[in-house]
Symmetry: C2
């Protein structure tokens, strides 16, 4: 049995358009509506027939929905929730896909005080953005974290969980603050460091940008992929998950300083110990199907 019959997606970027494609692929009988604040995106979504209907107002899109999924940058979640408040059916469940949860859940609940809200976050993505970047298999084998509060109807949580499982994801329930700390470690700080290192490299006087590009295969190019992610989305994530990001960043800075000191004083054993320990984590990630076992992510070599 399908958890929802009429799904509305607000926001048709990489995530929203991937959800649309996945719903079409896995639950073809679901009536799929959508809205995007950008008229060019709405037009493109109609061209590529992403949904059954694309509304020109958020309210129109949700009018008979039983699930409304907010897939906008986390800084725009409160506003997106407010834009559907007048038209949201009382029995509809509202969820979202934001990368930060505590502040976003609060913003959605404030805008929709009477709605059943089940905040969510599918941990998946690529560095590309927009309605053409999505694809139906994006969530397969990935995790979707749900962060309902203690008052949320368990049946609603179960339905949202089933929805994500139908799209191929595994689900986990987590406290919103804990989610924010876990994601600060596994996603937000890695993005911040990637953006930063690419910025540092492009600002050097002694090394030209052309050299940075030519010789990027020594490791740097991996960071440029992450640092090509959507600027609006990521600006919002850092502002909305400020506390957890700053806490993890402080930890990282201490650890980098320790390595800096080890290099300065020629303490090879300390470096070797860390470099050996980190290999084991990679192995576990591959064993648990969270990354490709092929060398170099399976990048093609040659040709």
């Amino acid at each position: 049995m399908l958890p929802f019959a009429r799904v509305t997606i607000i926001g048709l970027g990489l995530i929203g358009s991937s959800v649309a494609r996945a719903v079409r692929a896995k639950m073809p009988t679901v009536r799929l509506m959508a809205y995007d604040a950008d008229s060019a995106v709405r037009e493109r979504a109609r061209e590529i027939d992403l949904c059954d209907d694309i509304a020109d107002a958020a309210g129109t899109a949700v009018i008979d929905a039983d699930l409304v999924l907010l897939c906008v940058p986390v800084g725009a979640m409160g506003q997106a929730a407010a834009s559907i408040a007048a038209d949201l059916p009382p029995e509809a469940i509202v969820s979202d896909t934001g990368s930060a949860k505590a502040s976003i859940a609060a913003a959605i609940r404030q805008a929709l005080p009477h709605a059943t809200v089940v905040p969510g976050h599918p941990v998946a993505g690529t560095e590309h953005s927009g309605p053409d970047a999505g694809f139906a298999s994006l969530f397969e084998g990935r995790w979707c974290i749900l962060t309902p509060d203690g008052d949320t109807d368990p049946a609603a949580v179960m339905r949202v969980s089933t929805f994500w499982e139908k799209l191929g994801a595994q689900t986990e329930i987590m406290d919103a603050r804990h989610h924010d700390l876990v994601l600060a470690v596994t996603s937000h700080v890695p993005h911040l460091i990637a953006y930063s290192i690419v910025g540092t490299a492009s600002d050097l006087e002694e090394v030209t940008q052309s050299e940075v590009i030519k010789f990027s295969a020594g490791g740097f190019r991996d960071f440029t992929r992450i640092a090509a992610s959507d600027p609006t989305m990521w600006r919002d994530v850092f502002l909305q998950n400020r506390e957890a990001v700053l806490e993890i960043l402080q930890r990282l800075t201490e650890d980098v300083t320790m390595l800096q000191r080890a290099i300065r004083w020629g303490d090879g054993d300390q470096l070797f110990d860390l470099f050996t320990r980190t290999r084991a984590i990679r192995r576990s990630i591959i064993e648990q199907g969270q990354d490709s076992a092929e060398p170099d992510f399976g990048r093609s070599h040659g040709g």
Copy 2:
């Protein structure tokens, strides 16, 4: 015409064994000799028929070589050079594949004061190690940097350059100290940060290692690939390229601190500006063929 007729490889890890396979593939008439300090590696190299002959002593391997290529961790280069000193033919050219150049070239020249030395560095690799990890196309489309000093015979530099071009690489001549700075930016500091962030994540008390692994698809897993690279190789790189690594690390720390402050004070514009700028670098890297244009490095999704 082939630049060399009798090539000897000292060290059969990822790089040495890739050179061996590439020579076999691209210059099959070359007589290919090798030596590795580890007897298990020598045995494995014989099993998989990596070269025409695997010697049990470094001196034996170089006895009639016209190119000797040292492919050992940079901390072992001086010793590897010393081990062939007594048997190296006077007209042979000695080169290497080390990731740091100034200190390594000095160590090789000190061990082989009368030899023609053309230090080199193919900017290519994967996170895997050992004689089974190599493959013939590793250098195709990648750059190999040569750092001869002003006294080196230009004909010798040309021959080494042609050798790498035959293996599919493009070559560039560079001052050794400049190479070390460029690689600190494009390879060494990215590796250090990746090792560090994986270490930080695995040391947290509030977030379990199991959570870090499960939710790694949000960005963290990219860092674990780099942080799975060979510990001995990378310990040596940081110790041998200390000055340049510390200089770039200092720059990066300043830039991260600025971002930290922008997050703390809610300066979204500063974050947005940087995140927009870094996208352009990614585009250039793809345009110049130094990375895959496919989203997510072309990782397979689903299944």
